[in-house]
Amino acid sequence: MNDILEIKNVVKRYGNYTALNGVSLNIPKGCIYGLLGPNGAGKTTLIRIINQITYPDQGQVFFNGKPLAPKNVGQIGYMPEERGLYKSMKVGEQALYLAQLKGMDKAEAKKQLKYWFEKLEIESWWDKKLQELSKGMAQKVQFIVTVLHQPELLILDEPFSGFDPVNANLIKDEILELNKKGTTIIFSTHRMESVEEMCEYIALIDKSNKIIEGRLIDVKKQYRNNSYQVGIVPHNVEKLMYDLTLKFKVESADFKSLNNELKLNVHLGDSTSNDLLPLLLQNGLVTHFTENIPSINDIFISSVQGLTPNQF
């Protein structure tokens, strides 16, 4: 019941093509949820189902525990990947129009708009037509339009595409702030670094199926392989390598550092780091010691290629 959104066995077909094949997801209230997947995996279809733009052929979607209904559109904010606004309409007018379509009262919408325009310092744009604005400026308006009606659930499809780094940062901060205030956020993106940085939960969809779902940390734990990155200035290289290879699997590693040391990847197998460390200390000056944590990018690529956690 703590899930704002519960997707159960959703199937969607277009003719002979199956876009979603029995996908189930649980999105906890108040989290930032990363929806990942290669192009054509079915992310957009899933998002459109949540937005009630299309409907599932089978399965159900629950919003706050109740079946998703038309009245829920006012509680959801959606910024699609293919986005834009009316070019020949004034900024203020069209923001008001879109807010009213979401069920907002006109006076309330005006108040909220004013708040956001002041916050992003764009008050002077109210009477400008969208075609007079630059692309970055238009993106700001786009963001405001998405969040204006104070949605409980914010769905952002590739939110940073088209933003310059300054604006992308600005929007990122706004998103985090909204999240702090309790808004649940679904991110659909290819930008792994922002997933890594912002998302608490992730789900990976590939070829119409869900492959991975869970808390980011749990997923990473599942995919870690108990290997450590070691930097060492050895007394005697041959002895060190002899001692190490006797007990562990060792590969050369590559990481950035300021020293001219030996860089190794050591797979511990069933041992722990405490078994490795004394061995290293005997044989030289340890400059670097850290666990190899799989990045989302690695997990993404390897799962799409069909590898299971153990093969990683």
Partner: protein, 435 residues
């Protein structure tokens, strides 16, 4: 419902505020006036030109019949030898009418020649032939020793009185008026559908190219959006037509008070004068005309106009909306527009050609039932008196088809608005229906 209203409002305001719409609204009447003035001017210019035709008629058989009039001046070159006359005519006259020196007037009919480098208009030929025929006929009559006056007396001039079985008088010319009224309504509907259907289509394409469509349909149902567009644009259209109608009336009144009388009224006056000369009871006749127009099923006509207008416009503009959704830009829309324009054109042509000849004939009747042509054809038929059951059946068919087509268009619309990048084929659109 609230969203539908919001969409209608936006579409309407957006359309009405649009610069090209304002310009068209103002310029429309000016353009029409200018065009009519230009046509009138050109016709006058054409009339003002005097043609000079030379005649070589050495025996003076027919020359007396050719008197100068407003448009033609006849010059007698009979005094010259034919060769010289021909030479001169080719240089300074439009044509030479050559009557060879034959033995009798009767032979003129066969021998007469019209010599000119440009081929004469039909009107010119008929007028010359008539004049020659008159001369020869008269001569023939005299030759047969018949009293010409007696022939005139013997000539009968029948005048068919047209009545209804109920005994009321009807007027022969009234059919033209009925056709004019019916055609006006039918034509108006066609124009409206073509112009504002296109606006609907463009508005759909605009939302697609602006990429705002997905944002909007995450808030409203595609069906509401489509209907909002259709209604909003039609309201703008009605305003535009209304302004034009008011402008037209104002200009007519202004012209009337400035010039004393407008050209049309002059013409009407002329007709009345002519009628007065024709028969002594012409005033009764005029009254009959007025009676007859008032007796047209005006209420039926107006109600039908509203129903067929709304039905026809909604039917077609939902198709326009579906096409707008299926394509990415206006250039791609051409191949899909053809099947829409065809039935409209068919309606107008069937209306003009068959209804005029036989308002209750099989073809006219059939086409006034087919929903895609009925708004035009039925309205053209109604002034001639169509049984109520036919009108109602046609309306029911139209409305039923409207719902079917809207359902079909909404399906295409729903899928089409989210498709980008490629030009769809008919086959693909057919597949969308099953999504």
């Amino acid at each position: 419902m609230k969203n539908l209203f919001l969409i209608i409002k936006r579409e309407f305001i957006n359309k009405v505020r649009n610069k090209s719409f304002i310009v068209m609204t103002i310029l429309g009447p000016v353009l029409i006036l200018g065009m009519s003035a230009l046509i009138a001017f050109l016709t006058k210019m054409n009339d003002a030109e005097v043609k000079k035709i030379a005649i070589h008629d050495a025996n003076k058989y027919i020359i007396a019949q050719f008197e100068n009039d407003k448009h033609t001046e006849y010059v007698d070159l009979s005094a010259m030898p034919f060769d010289m006359a021909k030479e001169q005519a080719s240089q300074s006259y439009k044509a030479l009418l050559y009557v060879p020196q034959v033995d009798s007037v009767q032979q003129v009919v066969e021998a007469v020649q019209y010599i000119s480098d440009d081929s004469p208009s039909l009107e010119t030929i008929f007028s010359i032939e008539r004049k020659i025929n008159d001369v020869v006929t008269k001569s023939n009559i005299e030759k047969l020793h018949i009293d010409y006056k007696k022939i005139d007396e013997a000539k009968a001039n029948s005048e068919l009185k047209v009545l209804k079985f109920s005994g009321e008088n009807t007027l022969k010319g009234i059919n033209e008026i009925k056709i004019a009224i019916g055609s006006l309504f039918g034509y108006l509907i066609m124009m409206f559908i073509v112009i504002y259907g296109n606006y609907v289509m463009r508005s759909v394409i605009e939302e697609k190219t602006n990429r705002i469509i997905e944002i909007i349909i995450s808030s409203v149902k595609p069906f509401d959006l489509m209907m909002g567009k259709i209604i909003g644009n039609s309201l703008a259209g009605i305003i535009q037509f209304g302004i034009w109608a008011i402008c037209g009336l104002a200009i007519m009144f202004a012209a009337h008070s400035l010039l004393g009388s407008s050209p049309q009224i002059d013409q009407a006056q002329g007709m009345i004068d002519a009628m007065q000369q024709q028969s002594p009871n012409s005033f009764d006749k005029l009254n009959l005309y007025i009676d007859e127009i008032l007796k047209l099923p005006i209420i039926t006509l107006l109600v039908s106009f509203v129903v067929f207008f709304t039905g026809g416009y909604f039917l077609y503009s939902s198709l326009y909306a579906a096409i707008g959704a299926a394509v990415d830009n206006e250039t791609d829309s051409q191949q899909f527009l053809m099947p829409i324009i065809m039935p409209l054109m068919l309606g107008v042509y069937v209306g003009f050609f068959t209804v005029m000849n036989d308002p209750h004939g099989t073809i006219a009747t059939i086409f006034s039932f087919i929903p895609f042509t009925s708004p035009i054809v039925m309205l053209m038929r109604i002034p001639f008196g169509v049984p109520m059951w036919q009108i109602i059946t046609s309306m029911v068919l139209l409305i039923a088809t409207f719902f079917g087509v809207v359902w079909f268009a909404a399906k295409i619309y729903r899928v089409g608005i989210l498709m980008y990048g490629k030009k769809p084929t008919w086959k693909e659109i057919y597949k969308w229906l099953k999504y």
